[in-house]
């Protein structure tokens, strides 16, 4: 087995003495061999998903040879698999310290560093688990259950969280839920002593009303876990053996001398300075990493603020644009009603030019003079109405009078009304309007028209006639 000299660090191959510094390394070679045995054992257990057993073996390996990077990397992976992400990162960082190049730990750390959100999520999961543990210790099991459920939903492989949730469910006598949690935990770490102990406890506690099938499943899980270890590992380990690690006796015999003496001098042997130097570079690196992370966060935050500000500016400009467009549209739009007024005025002008006076007058009558905002249009209206209305009013009156004479009183009223619209001073139209209502025996309306003539046009012949008709009307109506 090739190794580096523990004294000077130079490669000594398989020799018992270092050619460089001349030190005897026999004892160290023996320790490293045993460390390798532990590593192989840890690897076998990890492959069988006996993760807690693998952790113990790998820790033993590292106690013998702290620079065994394969063991440390595997320990990190096993921690990661059981949800202990921070412990995993810790092992990878230490591994990187001992072997800077060609180290798988660099890849693992890189994966975590590349994904800050994942690191944040890991932090959240652990906070929830720790919060749940505190709540459970304070008797708030409901709070603890909620926190643990969330932690497990984020990391379904979090063995400790599953175990704690199972324990709380047992306490709450919710045995079915407890079993589900513990069975899940046992599938991740098949021979975990705590999980198996709780499953056994659950089996004893399960009341008679519990599902027989579920009970069998619980027992099956325990048996499967033990069988998996027994069948996959030539060194048969019972499930109980994981509660207390029983390492190879021969391995301990080989080490007994060094361990016994080492125990006596342990206080002297551990030099704080060694630890400090060995982790100093990692600490610096970690600090630098944290600083970069903080800077990146600050940059992101600034960029987000800038983006929000720009979005607000864009929104404001869009609103202004909409407002201007609306005003422009309103300014350009001419109401439909106004269009009709001007169109009718123009039509009336055209008809007049075509010497169709009656049609022109009727068209002009449909034009609301008050709606003509343009002064030139109003002037045109006045000029045209001055030329048309007086003459046309007389002609329409004649037409109405013919209808009246023939007894068509209601139809005649339409004509008289038109004549009066064209010429409000047409006293003939006014008089026969009164007469038509009189004939229709609408005395009140007839009286209004007679009185209008008498009062407004007292000097006219129609006013006198109206007065005579009014007297007749009073007699007829009996008032």
């Amino acid at each position: 087995m090739e190794m580096n000299c523990p004294y000077c660090g130079s490669n000594i191959g398989v020799r018992n003495r270092c050619n460089h510094c001349g030190e005897d390394v026999t004892l160290f070679q023996r320790a490293y061999r045993i460390a390798n045995q532990y590593y192989n054992e840890g690897l076998r257990k990890a492959r069988l998903r006996d993760l807690s057993g693998a952790i113990l073996s790998l820790k033993n390996c590292l106690k013998l040879n702290k620079e065994h990077t394969d063991a440390r990397n595997l320990l990190g992976l096993v921690y990661y698999e059981t949800g202990e992400s921070v412990s995993a990162i810790r092992e990878w960082i230490i591994s990187q310290h001992f072997q800077e190049e060609d180290n798988r730990a660099t890849y693992y750390i890189g994966l975590v560093q590349k994904n800050p959100s994942k690191l944040e999520e890991v932090g959240q999961i652990i906070k929830r688990y720790n919060g749940a543990l505190t709540a459970a210790r304070q008797g708030s099991n409901d709070v603890a259950i909620i926190q643990l459920k969330k932690a497990i939903s984020l990391n379904p492989h979090y063995v400790q969280a599953l175990q704690l949730l199972g324990l709380i469910y047992i306490k709450e006598r919710d045995y079915n839920k407890a079993r589900k949690c513990l069975v899940r935990a046992s599938k991740i770490d098949v021979a975990n002593a705590t999980t198996l102990a709780y499953l056994e406890e659950l089996h004893m506690l399960q009341p008679d009303g519990g599902s027989q099938k579920a009970k069998e499943n619980t027992l099956d899980e325990g048996r499967k876990s033990r069988n998996a270890i027994a069948s996959g590992n030539q060194v048969i380990l019972s499930a109980q053996s994981y509660t207390e690690e029983k390492p190879n006796i021969m391995a301990w015999v080989n080490l007994v001398l060094g361990i016994i003496i080492g125990a006596a001098f342990i206080m002297v042997a551990i030099v704080p300075g060694i630890r400090k130097n060995s982790v100093q570079s990692e600490s610096t690196e970690l600090v630098a990493l944290n600083e970069r992370l903080v800077k990146a966060d600050a940059d992101l935050e600034a960029a987000q603020k800038e983006k929000e500000s720009l979005e607000q500016d864009v929104k404001k400009l869009e609103n202004q644009l909409k407002k201007v467009q609306k005003e422009l549209t309103e300014a350009q739009e001419v109401p439909e009603e106004d269009k009709t007024v001007y169109e009718n005025l123009m039509k009336a002008v055209v008809l007049f030019l075509e010497e169709k006076e009656e049609e022109s007058a009727n068209m002009l009558l449909s034009v609301d003079k008050n709606a003509l905002e343009l002064e030139s249009a109003a002037q045109l209206y006045n000029k045209l109405s001055g030329q048309l209305f007086a003459e046309q009013s007389e002609e329409i009156y004649q037409s109405g009078h013919t209808l009246y004479t023939n007894g068509h009183y209601e139809q005649s009223l339409v004509e008289f009304d038109k004549a009066l619209q064209m010429n409000p001073d047409n006293v003939d139209a006014m008089y026969f309007t009164g007469r038509a209502y009189h004939r229709l025996k609408e005395y009140d309306t007839a009286r209004i028209w007679y009185n209008k003539l008498i009062e407004d046009y007292p000097d006219t012949g129609r006013a006198k006639e109206a007065a005579a008709r009014l007297r007749e009307l009073e007699k007829e109506s009996g008032t």
Binding site: A31, L133, L164, G258, A269
Partner: protein, 46 residues
């Protein structure tokens, strides 16, 4: 029959992300090799 309180006390708080640096710094990295080296050094000095 397990005791809830006793079992609960066995559960440990998980290391949080902001404790990584502390965990690395305070990790006892001494191994048997270090102890043996010290022992041999002591013996030699005697």
């Amino acid at each position: 029959m397990i005791d809830f309180e006793t079992e609960l006390s066995k559960f440990q708080m998980s290391l949080e992300v902001d404790q990584i640096e502390e965990a690395v710094y305070h990790n006892d990295l001494s191994d048997v090799t270090d102890i043996m080296k010290d022992l041999l050094e002591q013996v030699k000095n005697k």
